[in-house]
Symmetry: C2
Subunit: 234 residues, 2 copies
């Protein structure tokens, strides 16, 4: 086994967005040494990969791996270039949106589990949220519980009595609560990227679900979104 | 959704070895239209990828996707180039061997689940075997049951009442039973590759676990392994 760590270690699924950054900061502040995994899965908003590097640096992760897993080979999602990114959609609708990527969180957690076993990490950290993403099956508490059960059976570490926990500290928070948690911890949200459909310069569209959830979160928190220091507000 | 099929469809995890070929043939004979997924995960025995193409063609799969997922970035296995491939190891030992790849089946099943949702497949087919691979945590029946539970919660299809089943038809078979099943169905085992440590020409080493399990299977079945028509027996 290479890269094993002696203290408490966790593998963080890091997208470059606001949620995974905040989840990582919470795990870090609980004493976990972070190994950050970013997946280039064929997302149309590849701008978030660059953001993940800045965020990983800010979180002082032990190591950041960017892994290519081209889910566009399967297709099945607007985030993989099939059809348009929905704009001005009802934010609190409970249907599964076109931006759902089949089995994405299961694939990401499985990859994190593999790396976790190699570095003997005790936890996987994921920034999923059951409130804003109620339409995504793989953002629900019962889904995460089932993955934790699976993880205990799936690995040598689990069989030997050291199963991997799943930490999803944002699961029941609203976006404004997440943002307040981050601001309290000194997070620099200007480093993050949330938009599904940025222009070539990386400027957020302001109309996709992700932009609007973020805008609503900052508004409810009574704060200005620092990402707009770089661009005029759309 | 692209590539949706109307009949019964399944995603087959296809390695190029004997087991996944036989599992695929059994599912095909049960009426499933096969979508074959082969993962280039950084395995030192990349020869099996070429074999998977021949096997996919023989099985008349609807589509064969070869996906790159470089698990060597995480390390942690002799199959990923860390340390030597064990030779002349006690075959029925119950410890986890150095060829175990952390979370490999979980990663593979997750990827298959993603593709299955896109093509509306009702099943994932995997050639795992609990007898010969008793040291691998992710080849046990309780592991597969936990993955099936997870799959029903993880996807839009599952939430909508169309969960994906896992078919593991070889789970409780001995290697010789697997081989007899395949021969009865006319499978051409000369197309397959099992060795973890082939020479540059692709010739099996004869001493790794995989070679010896295969040899024992053919011996117990009272058959000659047709793969040795291409090479002198080691």
């Amino acid at each position: 086994m290479s890269g094993a760590s002696d203290g408490r270690a966790a593998v963080l699924l890091l997208s470059g967005g606001l949620d995974s950054y905040t989840a990582g900061a919470i795990a870090r502040d609980e004493g976990y040494e972070l190994h950050a995994l970013t997946v280039r899965y064929g997302q149309v908003h590849a701008r978030e990969i660059a953001a993940s590097r800045d965020v990983a640096q800010d979180l002082k992760v032990v190591r950041h791996i960017e892994l290519d897993v081209n889910l566009a080979a399967f297709g099945g999602s607007a985030l993989l270039g099939e059809g348009a990114i929905p704009k001005a959609r009802e934010l609190d609708a409970s249907d599964v949106p076109a931006t759902y990527v089949p089995a994405r969180n299961t694939i990401f957690l499985s990859l994190a589990l593999g790396w976790a076993e190699v570095v003997r990490a005790q936890a996987l950290v994921i920034g999923v949220n059951a409130l804003d993403y109620s339409g995504y099956p793989d953002c629900r508490p019962e889904y995460l519980a089932a993955f934790e059960t699976l993880a205990a059976l799936a690995t040598k570490a689990g069989v030997e009595g050291h199963p991997c926990r799943i930490l999803a500290p944002l699961l029941h928070m609203s976006k404004s609560e997440i943002i307040r948690h981050g601001i309290t911890r000194g997070l620099r949200y200007e480093l993050t990227h949330s938009c599904y459909d940025p222009d070539p310069s990386g400027r957020p569209c302001g109309a996709c679900d992700s932009c609007r959830l973020r805008a609503r979160g900052f508004e409810e928190a009574g704060l200005d979104d620092p990402v707009f220091r770089a661009w005029p507000r759309p």
